[in-house]
C-alpha cells in the first residue's frame, strides 16, 4: 500500500511538470485558437539557459530559474511578434504547422549548446529522499508539486484580478467587443506567448532536477499533448487535472507493469498516448473543454 502511494506521489511530481507545459498550450489556444507545438522548444531553451546561468559565479538554481523563465518568456514574445503575428487572419492550421517548424528550429539550436557534455541545472535536490508521513518520497517531486501549485495560484489570481488577465479572458470570448473596450488584441497574443514560454522554462527546470539534460529531454514536453487532449484544449483547470492524471497513470504503470502486461514491456511510455486516443474516441473535447457546437 505504501508503495502504491509512493508511486502516486512520483506521478504527481511528474504530472506537475506536464501541467505547467500544458497550461502554456492552453493559454495560447484560448487567446488565439492556435495550437502551438513550440512548447518543447521553449522548454529545452529554458533548461539550457538554466544550465549555463548556474555556471556563472554567484548564480544558483534559485536565481537561474526565475531569470531563465523571464528570458524564455521574452524570447517567446519575440517569436510571436516576428513569426506568428504576421500570420494573424491566416488559416489556423498553417500557423500550427509554423509552430512545428519553430519547435524544430529552437530545439536544434538549443541542442547545439548542449553539445556532448553532461549538463545539469544544479538543483538543490538531486535524488535525495525525505519522509512524508509513512511515505518515502523524492524531494524533487515534492518541489515540482509545490512549484506548480504556487504558479497555478498566481495564474488564478492574475486572470481573476488584473486588467491584463481580464483582457485575456475577454479576447478569448469575443475579439471585436474586446477591441471596442480598448483592449489591444496583439498585446494579449504577445502576453499569452510570453506566459507559455515562461511556464515551459519553469517546467523544464523542475523536470531536469535529479537528472542530466540530454537531446532526448524535450520528449517530456511532448507528453503535454495527450494532457491537453484529456483536459480539453481550452480549459486551464483541465490542463492541471489532466497533467496530474497522466503523470500518475504513467507512474503507476511504471511501478506495476503487470497491470498492463498485455501491452508488452515498458508500456508506461505509451500510456499517455493510449489515454489520448481513448479520449478522442469517447469525448473529443476533453474532460473540461468546451463542446464545439456546429450547425450545418
Amino acid at each position: 500500500m505504501i508503495e502504491l502511494f509512493e508511486a502516486v506521489f512520483r506521478g504527481l511530481g511528474q504530472g506537475s511538470v506536464y501541467a505547467l507545459i500544458a497550461l502554456g498550450f492552453v493559454i495560447i489556444y484560448k487567446s488565439s485558437h492556435v495550437i502551438s507545438f513550440a512548447q518543447p522548444g521553449f522548454m529545452i531553451a529554458g533548461v539550457v539557459l538554466v544550465t549555463y546561468l548556474v555556471e556563472l559565479p554567484g548564480i544558483g538554481f534559485w536565481v537561474a530559474v526565475p531569470l531563465a523563465t523571464l528570458l524564455t518568456g521574452l524570447f517567446a514574445l519575440g517569436i510571436e511578434r516576428a513569426v506568428i503575428r504576421p500570420m494573424v487572419g491566416r488559416p489556423i492550421f498553417a500557423i500550427a504547422i509554423i509552430t512545428i517548424a519553430l519547435d524544430i528550429l529552437i530545439r536544434t539550436v538549443a541542442h547545439a549548446y548542449l553539445g556532448i557534455n553532461v549538463r545539469h541545472v544544479q538543483d538543490p535536490w538531486g535524488l535525495r529522499t525525505m519522509s512524508l508521513g509513512p511515505l518515502t518520497v523524492q524531494q524533487r517531486h515534492l518541489a515540482a508539486v509545490l512549484a506548480a501549485a504556487a504558479l497555478v495560484a498566481v495564474l488564478f489570481l492574475f486572470f481573476r484580478y488584473t486588467r491584463m488577465g481580464l483582457a485575456m479572458r475577454a479576447v478569448a470570448q469575443d475579439q471585436e467587443a474586446a477591441l471596442a473596450q480598448g483592449v489591444s488584441v496583439g498585446a494579449v497574443f504577445a502576453m499569452s506567448w510570453a506566459m507559455a514560454g515562461g511556464l515551459a522554462a519553469v517546467a523544464g527546470s523542475f523536470a531536469a532536477s535529479g537528472r542530466s539534460v540530454d537531446p532526448l529531454f524535450w520528449l517530456i514536453a511532448l507528453t503535454a499533448l495527450p494532457v491537453i487532449i484529456l483536459g480539453g484544449l481550452d480549459s486551464l483547470p483541465g490542463a492541471v487535472v489532466a497533467g496530474l492524471v497522466i503523470g500518475v497513470a504513467q507512474a503507476l504503470t511504471q511501478s506495476y507493469p503487470h497491470w498492463v502486461s498485455f501491452l508488452g514491456t515498458n508500456a508506461s511510455v505509451i500510456v499517455p498516448w493510449l489515454v489520448m486516443i481513448l479520449v478522442l474516441v469517447v469525448r473529443p473535447y476533453g474532460l473540461f473543454g468546451t463542446r464545439e457546437v456546429e450547425r450545418v
Binding site: R163, L179, A180
Partner: protein
C-alpha cells in the same frame, strides 16, 4: 464659438462599398459636443456600417472622419477606443461567461496603465489602479441599477438587463462620445422606458454626446436633438425631429411611393 469648434465629430462624404454593394454612399454629418444625434433608416440602410466606420472596424473607400480634432480613419479599433469613443452593439456583444462586474471592469481597461510585471507581483501601482477602477465601476452599477446582478455571469441574465450591462461597460470607459446601436431593440415597453430614462440621465448628469441608431421612432423623436435619415447608404434628410416626421422623402423611404391610380 464657430460651428466647427463646437463639433465633437465630423463625418464628411464617406463612401464604403463591399464588392460593388454601396453600404455608405456619400454621407456627411456633424455631432455637437452635447448633442444627441440619431440615425434612422430602413433595415440595411447602412446605419451600423456608419458605426463600424466610426469604431475602426471598417475602413471606408473615401471621405474623412475627424473626432475631437483628430483624424480617425486608419486608426485601429482599440486606438479609437483609447481616444474616447465607446459603443454598444446591435446584438449584445458581452462576454457571456464573465460576471457583470468583470464586463464593466473591462470598460476601465484603457484607464489602467500598469504592466504585466507589476500585475504578477501585485505592486502598489497595480493595486491602486484596480481599486480606483473598481470604485468607478461600482458607481456605474449604481447608476444603472444593476446592483442585484453584479456577481452573475452575464449570459444568464435577461436580455433587457444585458443591454444595460453593455451600456454600463461603455460608460465605464468615460467616453467623449457614445455610440448606441439599437439600445432598445427587442425590448418591451417597460424596458424601453427604463432605457430612455438612462439615456436622458447620461445626457444630463454625465453630459456625454450620443449617436443613437434606433428603429423605435417614438424614442428617437422624443430624445434626439437632430435626426439623420439614410436609405440605401444615401442621406435622405437631416433635421430636428419635427421636420423629419413630415419630410416627404422620409415618408417615401419608409412607406414607399404613393401610387396614383
Amino acid at each position: 464659438m464657430t460651428r466647427a469648434e463646437s463639433d465633437i465629430l465630423r463625418f464628411s462624404d464617406v463612401k464604403l462599398s463591399f464588392s460593388g454593394v454601396k453600404a455608405i454612399d456619400g454621407i456627411s454629418f456633424t455631432v455637437g459636443r452635447s448633442e444627441l444625434f440619431a440615425i434612422i433608416g430602413p433595415n440595411g440602410a447602412g446605419k451600423t456600417s456608419i458605426f463600424n466606420v466610426l469604431s475602426g472596424v471598417y475602413r471606408p473607400d473615401a471621405g474623412e472622419v475627424s473626432f475631437d480634432g483628430q483624424a480617425l480613419l486608419g486608426k485601429r479599433p482599440h486606438q479609437i477606443a483609447h481616444l474616447g469613443i465607446a459603443r454598444t452593439f446591435q446584438n449584445v456583444e458581452l462576454f457571456a461567461n464573465l460576471t457583470v462586474l468583470e464586463n464593466v471592469m473591462l470598460g476601465r481597461h484603457h484607464h489602467m496603465r500598469y504592466g504585466p510585471l507589476s500585475a504578477f507581483f501585485w505592486l502598489g501601482r497595480a493595486r491602486r489602479e484596480e481599486i480606483t477602477a473598481r470604485a468607478r465601476v461600482e458607481e456605474i452599477i449604481d447608476f444603472l441599477e444593476l446592483e442585484q446582478w453584479r456577481r452573475f455571469p452575464v449570459g444568464l441574465l435577461p436580455y433587457g438587463v444585458q443591454k444595460r450591462v453593455e451600456l454600463g461597460r461603455a460608460l465605464a470607459m468615460e467616453p467623449k462620445l457614445l455610440l448606441l446601436d439599437e439600445p432598445v431593440g427587442g425590448m418591451n415597453v417597460e424596458e424601453t422606458e427604463d432605457m430612455a430614462r438612462y439615456i436622458l440621465d447620461i445626457r444630463e448628469d454625465l453630459d456625454i454626446p450620443i449617436i443613437l441608431v434606433e428603429h423605435d421612432m417614438g424614442l428617437v423623436m422624443d430624445l434626439a436633438d437632430r435626426v439623420l435619415v439614410v436609405d440605401f447608404g444615401r442621406p435622405v434628410a437631416t433635421g430636428v425631429p419635427s421636420e423629419i416626421q413630415n419630410h416627404p422623402d422620409v415618408i417615401r423611404a419608409y412607406l414607399g411611393e404613393v401610387q396614383s391610380t
